[in-house]
């Protein structure tokens, strides 16, 4: 048991620069919301974007700080048993960039309607910043205390973001449902952690892995039940079937920027936790947990996509579609679990998850930006009919929406195709051809409901023919998302190189 050394502590703290920056800025925003006049507060969104950009720069710098950019550098906070509880490796860096990207899109969208819902208020921005702060601890945490605190920080801010419109009844309702099921999931996860602690005597992922490598007799019952409960808890957080019931209501009730945040950053955060826990702690037992994941993946794809078919509310449709996408992403983790020590397959699984989450973030955030665009005078523009004749009202945005939908469906020449190519290929590498076939069939199903939106935009006639004025932040969001969706579709190599860093997981 190491004693406390202030010099080492400060040296370690340097690895937390991005997190410390976000925490400090979040507190500043809260202070500003109480003291700074409204007129000056309008710059809050741009300021937040700048801070997110600086955080992204600091995160990227950690990647190359170590060994010339080829191997991810690692910083480690030892816990009381001497195991690292917080590591900075390639995996953490890639996921942190995904979180920051999702948060940046949310902030851009929130700057659209300052007068109606107060989404530009400093409180809203502070909650986004705090939530990202929690996610970063999910990506870097390797001690279960660190992971649990990170999860709760992310989730508590998320509940408040959903319920942010306190006057709106649907927001209240979505927030209560999200809170009750989210807290239940955290509780089940925590009980699972306690059982795993009982079976292995460690609350550190490396400690658990070392204990499991030692013997596989002992408290196997505790361990099995604990792992299953942890999977249930995290399954809620990634909205995998059958733990997805909260997602449609929370997505519909929340303001569109907050919905986008839940669908992109919060989902990536939950996946970061899922990967870190199951690969680092239980990686050697992959063959045992992979069958459960296969069930979750197949059920999520099928139920999510079929339920999305009959939705007339685009936000709700995208919620079910995001449940389906969680199923696709799980295939990458399954490949890691079944790799059986084959480094190439393991790398392919990790790479494809990170790559797909990047691609999915661009397309999903872009689609929600379109929903935010259609809102005016406090009236939500989230129904399918609101998209009627959009091509005449704003041709460029319509083409971008077409790109996002094609990318989500996985049509070639868009980013989504590249992502699905890697993910489905990972499943085939571990001889799960049937799962890949199910995924392809589900992609075909999903094309039907995405096409409904395309038909509304390009073929149906709308009643109002007036052009839409797009505010600068929102057009920046739509433009950036559209550009990346197209560029990754035809020239994915730089992004694949970036996602390859996710393979570098410390000590696993």
């Amino acid at each position: 048991m190491a004693g406390f050394d202030p010099a080492v502590f400060i040296e370690n703290l340097a690895w937390m620069k991005p997190e410390l920056l976000l925490a400090g800025f979040g507190l500043l925003l809260l202070l500003a919301s109480a003291t700074v006049p409204v007129a000056i507060r309008q710059v809050g969104g741009w300021l937040t974007l700048a801070v997110l950009a600086v955080a992204a720069f600091l995160v990227t710098a950690q990647l190359s700080a170590g060994s010339g950019g080829t191997v991810a550098s690692t910083g480690a906070f030892p816990d009381i048993a001497g195991n690292p509880a917080f590591v900075v490796d390639g995996f953490a860096v890639v996921f942190k960039l995904i979180f920051l990207l999702g948060a940046a899109f949310t902030v851009l969208m929130s700057m659209k309607y300052p007068d109606t819902d107060g989404e530009d208020s400093a409180e809203f921005l502070a909650l986004v910043v705090f939530s990202v702060f929690g996610m970063m601890f999910l990506a870097s945490g390797t001690g279960l205390i660190t992971i649990y605190i990170g999860l709760e920080t992310m989730a508590l801010a998320g509940y408040l973001l959903v319920g942010f419109r306190v006057q709106e009844k649907r927001a209240n309702e979505g927030a209560v449902k999200y809170f009750v099921l989210g807290a239940l999931a955290s509780g089940i996860l925590l009980y699972g952690i306690s059982l795993v602690y009982g079976a292995t005597g460690s609350i550190n992922l490396y400690g658990i892995a070392a204990s499991l490598a030692g013997d596989d007799s002992g408290a196997a019952g505790f361990l099995g039940l604990g792992v299953v409960l942890m999977l249930v808890g995290i399954g809620f957080k990634v909205a995998a079937v059958p733990f997805h019931m909260w997602a449609p209501d929370a997505y519909e009730g929340a303001t569109t920027p907050a919905t986008s945040f839940l669908a992109t950053a919060a989902k990536a955060g939950a996946f970061a936790m899922l990967l870190r826990v199951f690969v680092t702690a239980f990686g050697d037992r992959g063959a045992d947990w992979a069958p459960l994941m296969i069930l979750l993946a197949a059920a999520s794809m099928t139920v999510g996509n079929i339920a999305a078919l009959r939705q007339d509310n685009v936000k709700r449709m995208l919620a079910f579609s995001s449940v389906g996408h969680a199923g696709y992403v799980l295939m990458g983790l399954i490949a890691v679990g079944l790799s059986g020590g084959d480094a190439a397959i393991r790398a392919r699984g990790l790479l494809s998850v990170a790559l797909y989450l990047f691609i999915y973030t661009f397309a999903t955030a872009g689609a929600f930006a379109l929903v935010a665009l259609l809102r005016k005078n406090g009236q939500p523009g989230e129904m399918l009919d609101d998209f009627n004749g959009l091509v005449k009202r704003h041709p460029v945005a319509s083409v971008c929406m077409l790109l996002f939908l094609l990318s989500l469906a996985g049509i070639p020449c868009t980013a989504g195709f590249i992502g699905k190519w890697w993910l489905f290929g990972a499943a085939i590498k571990v001889n799960l051809v049937w799962l890949a076939v199910v995924a392809v069939l589900n992609s075909v199903v999903s094309l039907y409901y995405y096409a409904r939106v395309m038909v509304a935009i390009f073929i149906r006639d709308g009643d109002g023919e007036s052009k839409i004025q797009v505010p600068l932040p929102l057009s920046a969001a739509i433009g950036a998302a559209g550009l990346f969706t197209l560029v990754i579709g035809v020239y994915p190599q730089p992004f694949i190189r970036l996602a390859r860093y996710a393979v570098l997981m410390m000590g696993a």
């Binding site: 205390i145 509940y159 408040l160 306190v166 809170f179 009750v180 807290a183």
Partner: protein, 100 residues
């Protein structure tokens, strides 16, 4: 003589009561109370295993969980109050504005 096993059995019962309460009760206040039971069941487990092993980690974890539980209930009650102001009810059956 009280042993860690007794504490674990008690914790399992508490966990069951908590999950059952969350899933069946209609009053959200009672649902919140059941959520607290789940967290405390986990805490008991941590302390019991900490005693059985023996190691200090479980007790440290329990302390952190107590802090987080306080934050969680604060957020939960805040959300509940906004709901009650608009709907004058805390009965979960009455909240079905969104469907599908």
């Amino acid at each position: 003589m009280l042993t860690p096993t007794h504490v674990m059995i008690f914790s399992l019962v508490l966990f069951g009561v908590g999950v059952f309460g969350v899933l069946t009760r209609r009053n959200i206040i009672i649902v919140l109370m059941s959520l607290e039971l789940i967290l405390n069941a986990a805490n008991l487990n941590f302390v019991a295993f900490s005693w059985a092993h023996p190691s200090i980690h479980g007790q440290v974890f329990a302390l952190f969980v107590i802090c987080v539980a306080a934050g969680e209930v604060a957020v939960g009650l805040a959300i509940l109050i906004t709901l009650f102001r608009n709907r004058n009810s805390v009965n979960i059956d009455e909240f079905h504005l969104m469907k599908g």
